[in-house]
Amino acid sequence: MHDINDHFDPDNFDINLSEISKIEGAASLEIKVRDKKIEDLKFSISEWKRFYTQAIQGKPAVAIPQLVARICGTCSNAHLLCSIKAIENALSILPSNQTKLLRKLLHFGLLIRDHALHLYIFALPDIYNKNSILEFDENDTVQNQLLEDTFAVKEVGNQLSIIIGGRSVHAPNPTIGGFHKLPKIDDLKNLRPKLQQIRPKIINLVEIFAKVTSVLKPRIQPSFSSLTSDDFSFLDGIMKSAAGKALSERELDKYLEAVIIPYSHARGFKLNGNLMMVGALARLNLSKQSLHPKTKIDINNYLSLFPSSNIYHNNLAQAIEILHVIDTSLDIIDRLNEIAEEKPPKITPKESVGVGIIEAPRGTLYHKYKIDSQGLVKKAEIIVPTGQNQVLMEKGIYEQTERLLLEDADKEKITLEAEKLIRAFDPCMSCASHFLQVNWR
């Protein structure tokens, strides 16, 4: 992957990472160093667009959730739930309490699996100086346990999604107003001990990421923003920024300013003209007091680290979120004694605009649809977390590289640290690159 020069000049070199590994999708990084100064730096998302916002036009609104789930295999169920929420808001459909709880469990299954994929498979090898989690030494007690934990934790998240959604990726069961097919209560109850079993593994993971010493605090602090709620629900709440200001959900696209990055297949964003960041770090910064009480007790030593502007704390925040969703899932499963046979409501089309906002694993996800009287989508706007973080990602790599050059770091070290920082943002390129700016009139 690296373009290592044969005769290395520490003051003048190029870094060309055409395919960054251990991230979701394709991204590349080019750094040109001359006289020990950065002459050019480009972080670009190199996924090819699939033009979902155009493809949605003219299609029945009821068909959209399953279509947009295909925007991203990693966070497909987040797109599914966000799209359902937008259409329900447009058509004034109120889901039942049971539906809300089951959707939470579906989303929590995704959060466990997705955060675990990022932390164990992508980020942990950096801490242990390994190329891959699969290269962890099975004769080393600690490393072998982490390898076992990787699969055990991911599998529980996967199973939770399968029980509720019918499949962990592109779940077929959830629909507008409810579920085509409801889960079996016994399957959920049987999963309870497995959720309990992975709890200590996650506390261990929190401790590992809390000890990481890497620091990158952007010189200009970004505006952290997320959906906030009393129960840290990810699916409901009020949009807030770090300044404590509530943002109107229906008008979120007015606060977000699209930034065209000529060399990237994806557009970036600023929030009210400021650098911004969404995701686990933003959520912990804004809502740590709303974490599950058991979570707060077990990770109390680390909560004081938040609010934090250290980008590497995004990994720690994700580990804490896994514990929170395990604890909340256990509560929900304990409270559910039966699953009532509820049928999704009949849908009556009407001319309307619907907005859905949820917290996907990587941050705030926004779907907006304009629907006509026949129930067909006229326009769509989808804003994904990685787009919102893209401008800060490039700026962060720049500032870190500048610092490393001052510390006389070599090309290999600069490259490795850039990759670690990109992974700390946990970008999802599949999501980021498939939309065009929509002009709403």
Binding site: K49, R50, F51, R70, T74, H170
Partner: protein, 193 residues
């Protein structure tokens, strides 16, 4: 299509099946299914397979290495992708198309069916980044030996194919390659490669 006796059981030089996992234009849903299959299958596979290239799991070489089996998901939408796919085909004894976009092109090929006004909207992007005129499925560019259909890929079909190649004699691969090359030269089916 490749056929072999499941009784034959030897693999590459180190006795492991060298596999590659590649993603082109798609949502990478099958990559996720694959990483989830590792949860329950890695213990059985770890002594039998070696990842020659799998960007999702490890830093992988920029030069495509020689492989026994290349699993390829996604459709082809740019010339550079076509070039890379041809390279993978040359380096892999077996190429398996993974998931709907690789096998039939959909849904990544939805722009192939856009109307005039939709095409006008996306034209500046297509031109700036040199997109192909049409999105292509893998078999429109290279010979595909096996397919795992589905969106995401059908797990059971994938596991059957993994089992088949884990039990394949590499000598059969080579004999098959020679036969295929000879039949390609006389085939009426047009191939872009």
């Amino acid at each position: 299509m490749f056929h072999c006796s499941t009784a034959d059981k030897i693999k590459s030089m180190n006795n492991k099946l060298r596999i590659g996992w590649f993603s082109f234009t798609c949502c990478e849903d099958s990559t996720i299914i694959f990483t989830e299959l590792l949860n329950t299958h890695w213990k059985n596979w770890k002594n039998s397979i070696e990842f020659a290239h799998a960007k999702v799991l490890k830093k992988s070489p920029e030069i495509i290495p020689e492989m026994d089996v290349a699993f390829v998901e996604g459709a082809i939408t740019g010339d550079k992708q076509e070039e890379k796919l041809n390279n993978i085909r040359q380096k892999a004894k077996i190429l398996v198309a993974i998931g709907s976009c690789a096998v039939v092109g959909s849904p990544s090929n939805q722009r192939n069916f856009f109307n005039r006004s939709q095409l006008e909207e996306i034209k500046p992007i297509l031109e700036r980044f040199k997109y192909k005129e049409k999105v292509l499925k893998l078999s429109e560019i290279v010979k595909v030996d096996d397919v795992v259909p589905g969106c995401p890929m059908n797990e059971q079909v994938f596991l059957q194919i993994m089992d088949k190649y884990l039990n394949t004699n590499p000598l059969s691969f080579r004999e098959n390659e020679a036969t295929e090359k000879s039949s390609e030269e006389t085939s009426d089916v047009p191939k872009r490669k």
